[in-house]
């Protein structure tokens, strides 16, 4: 099991060849692991009569709607949950690509005092908006 609940992941941006359960609209998008469903036979192999091995962990991943749809007009709090198999996920630690979720995630591990210094100093307050 490569990922844990709460971890930031990004869906691989690769074409769907054969039977692929990953919907195209989340490819290349960053989300957060909500839950691990368990390990299942790989449908990309099972669908062609294969044995489905090695089994693939399946994750419930939460995406922000505005991350998934460019120009999304709904609430900034709207989310969508999608089941994604592990081999379609990459770690998404590069916060620079995902300012909305990445920065607060990275800063969450920093001591509070240091964050207060940054917030009042050279980092724009908007960049620390995820920190409470």
């Amino acid at each position: 099991m490569r990922y844990r609940p709460g971890q930031l992941v990004r869906v691989r941006d690769a074409p769907s060849v054969g039977h692929v359960r990953t919907p195209s609209y989340v490819k290349g998008k960053a989300g957060r692991v909500e839950r691990v469903h368990g390990v299942f036979g790989n449908p990309e192999s099972l669908s062609y009569g294969g044995d489905g091995l090695p089994g693939q962990p399946l994750y419930l991943v939460r995406f922000e709607q505005r991350e998934v749809w460019s120009g999304y007009a709904g609430s900034a709090d709207d989310t969508i949950y999608v089941d994604v198999y592990e081999h379609w996920l990459l770690p998404a630690e590069n916060a620079a690509h995902f300012p909305g979720i990445g920065l607060s995630h990275r800063f969450a591990r920093w001591p509070r005092k240091m964050l207060r210094i940054f917030r009042g100093g050279w980092l724009a307050p908007s960049l620390c908006s995820g920190v409470k």
Partner: protein, 98 residues
């Protein structure tokens, strides 16, 4: 690369999809029962069945209803596995009609 026909969500348009329900016809209930029995008896996997639906040509997929897609896939997978012969269902239908 072209998307598989079933890979919806913002494609081919971002218009809302029609989610209205309709009463099920007898043949639709039978199609459902057939699919479940084939999976439970390990004649085919649900993954093979889904792949069969996704292999439909775009125009046929668009024109078909939900359970019509199921029938398409069931026939295709059963032919693939040699359970029925190609054209066997059509021949039987013609026989019954004649």
């Amino acid at each position: 690369m072209a998307r598989p026909v079933h890979d919806r969500g913002g494609w081919p348009t971002s218009e809302p999809i029609d989610t209205s329900e309709h009463p099920l016809a007898d043949w639709e209930l039978l199609a459902d029962a057939l699919q479940q029995s084939l999976v439970r008896n390990r004649v085919m996997t649900v993954d093979e069945f889904r792949r069969g639906i996704e292999s439909m040509p775009l125009q046929a997929y668009e024109a078909a209803g939900y359970y019509e897609r199921w029938l398409y896939s069931l026939e295709r997978i059963l032919v693939e596995k040699g359970v029925i012969a190609p054209g066997e269902i059509d021949r039987k239908l013609a026989e019954l009609a004649g």
